[in-house]
Symmetry: C2
Subunit: 395 residues, 2 copies
């Protein structure tokens, strides 16, 4: 009798965004015709930019004709895209060779897949509140999880300490859900800690394009010594609106070795065995993001989301609610008013003003009492939600 | 100090198709201007059909406008595609609900990912010669591999036997590389064996569209009892030319349970944790394959590959070389002439007539002395290769 993976039974019953969807659905069924303002899930609302659309159409045309048709793509990514991404890093002073860049179907897929590189006996540090899949993907592998709580006291940016014993360190900066961003000095401390302890940092850089403060690092490889201790996982989902189009990339430096094994070479072996690469069409669309025109257009879109953030921040300022994020990140992390718990506040907002957000508790126990707003909605909805919030709390 | 996955060091140094590429590249560098006929790797040469191209363009246009834009897709696949695939099964008399069908980025990705459902202590049966990734993906997980050799004596279609002890059973029919196809009776024996032993069959149906003999099963779910013991992994790569466009689907029946755990529910949990679904654009392209127009067009393309197979089969008949496959599968599996070993024959064909095939030994020890031709090349190249082969062996 084959045994299914027993660790699946250790997972919590269901998933944060699924619960939100179910509660919202039930409310809509009970209140037909209500206009709900969805500021919960971090999904983009703006379409793909023109440069990407044009590249996608051209790539589809390539697939229509024998002379330009592309069959199997290189498993680790097309050269045309890997080179463009390496050049993009170069502009920020990070020198990478194209074969240190791996094309993926997105950060979500990669965050799960990459764990195959490490022994299951290794432990994983998750700084909470955190994206719930960090924990779940490691539960599925039976890995020991070390929870490190962040809080208002440390601006949700905890420091490494001698008491922390973990092999794999998840760091997400700009952070989902808190919007907090590690400074160069703070991130350097984690890099040094990882190098001293032989740990590996999984650096989730999905939101780097939202950083406006020029002193903050976009990539962990801007820090000294990161190439011997970090893997950086990136995504075009929020940067360029690819949530439903799917493309990401991962940097594994050739200098990253543990126990005599080279992780870059191991990942090549993993990809050549377990994938046949990412769609030619989508990779062509992704390459357009890294052109001058593409960069200009995606930044125009990002500015629209940033204006959403300003509108929400202004509303919270007006009614005197504590929050962080919003400035260098697409999320605003607020303290629930009147000492409410986060699911309590979720229900309160849904029923009182039909605004949907994300309860902080869904990101781990350290998120209890907080609430996340996404700034990826439409400007109209965001403005209306801000007005409803101000009215509700000004009463 | 984190420990990398130690099993990677147990993998063989490099990969079959990589070796072929290296040998071929070296030959071309030494003989510039040579016309090489590539019948090795199973990559398609015909472009995507019109119905798919049109659907892809429409989907790209959807992503260009706010009102039709698609963000995150359902992790297990878009309803529009899952329903079309379930209807496609219905036509063959297999009744599935849409939520037993999971959309994937392709069979190659899925064959690796799906292993997460099972304990690493479970063993895997690989019927050899076999697609090398079956073995490698399980070596990476530290799984015990049970090798079952097939041979000319059993037409490369071995029967289950009481001496076989394995939890996970890989069955690929039509087979890569031998082109052999299990009859209903033969496949029923494996289904019964799996149900009796509590094993799970991973049925690789990537080549089912090439079956022309109407008595042969396209899907394992055509057999009684398969829903309690099998997962079927399918791909549009060969069916519809999606090798570089990437789309596949996997069927996990709701009735498939082991040790009190439901594998369909486990896979939902896996997908919702570890992916954000497959590109909207590509799923729309895939849905066009299952329309009446799409089916007609892909079958026209398949007929072109089948004519290639006939040309090669005729050539081998003419010079009296034993082979199987070609009729219900896109591969022809031939015995190397003059007692040559398979890599020896690879070098011989490359150097004598500049034809590239795949050495049988690359599919496991049971493939030694055999050689695989792919029929996915262009008709012109296939014809020329057949002529060169006939000339070489008629001397």
């Amino acid at each position: 009798m084959i045994r299914p993976n027993k660790y699946y039974s250790e997972l919590k019953d269901s998933y944060l965004f699924y619960n939100i969807a179910q509660k919202t659905k039930a409310y809509v069924e009970q209140h037909p015709g209500t206009k709900l303002l969805r500021m919960g899930i971090g999904d983009v609302s703006l379409p793909l930019c023109d440069a990407v659309i044009r590249a996608l159409h051209e790539a589809v045309d390539d697939q229509a004709s024998k002379s330009s048709f592309h069959g199997y793509m290189p498993e680790c990514g097309a050269s045309f895209l890997r080179e463009k991404i390496a050049e993009h890093y170069e502009k920020r002073g990070v020198s990478l060779s194209a074969d240190e860049v791996f094309v993926s179907s997105g950060a979500s897929d990669e965050l799960g897949d990459i764990l195959d590189l490490f022994e299951r006996s290794s432990s994983a540090l998750v700084i909470e509140p955190a994206y719930p899949a960090y924990v779940d993907a490691n539960v599925m592998a039976g890995r020991k999880i070390v929870h490190l709580s962040s809080s208002e006291e440390n601006n949700f940016l905890p420091e490494p300490g001698e008491d922390i014993k973990a092999d794999l360190l998840y760091i997400c900066s700009p952070n989902n859900p808190t919007g907090a961003v590690f400074s160069r000095e703070q991130l350097q401390a984690w890099v040094d800690f990882a190098n001293e302890n032989g740990s590996v940092i999984l650096f989730d850089a999905a939101y780097e394009a939202f950083i406006e403060d020029e002193t903050l690092p976009h990539s962990i490889f801007e820090l000294d010594g990161a190439k011997t201790c970090a893997i950086e996982i990136c995504s075009l989902s929020k940067t360029a609106g690819f949530t439903g189009t799917r493309l990401g990339y991962t940097v594994i430096p050739k200098a990253l070795k543990r126990n005599g094994m080279n992780l870059n070479e191991m990942w090549i072996r993993n990809r050549t065995t377990k994938t046949n690469g990412v769609s030619y069409i989508i990779q062509k669309g992704g390459a357009a993001v890294f052109t001058e025109e593409g960069q200009r257009q995606i930044h125009e879109n990002i500015q629209i989301y940033k204006r959403n953030a300003k509108i929400l921040m202004k509303a919270l300022d007006q009614i005197g609610i504590w929050y962080c994020g919003g400035k260098n990140a697409p999320y605003i992390w607020m303290r629930c008013p009147k000492g409410m718990k986060s699911w309590e506040f979720f229900d309160y907002l849904l029923h009182k003003i039909q605004v949907v957000g994300t309860p902080g508790e869904g990101f781990g126990a350290a998120g209890e009492g907080y609430f996340r707003f996404s700034t990826f909605g439409s400007p109209e909805d965001t403005k209306e939600a801000a007005e409803r919030i101000v009215t509700l709390f000004s009463k």
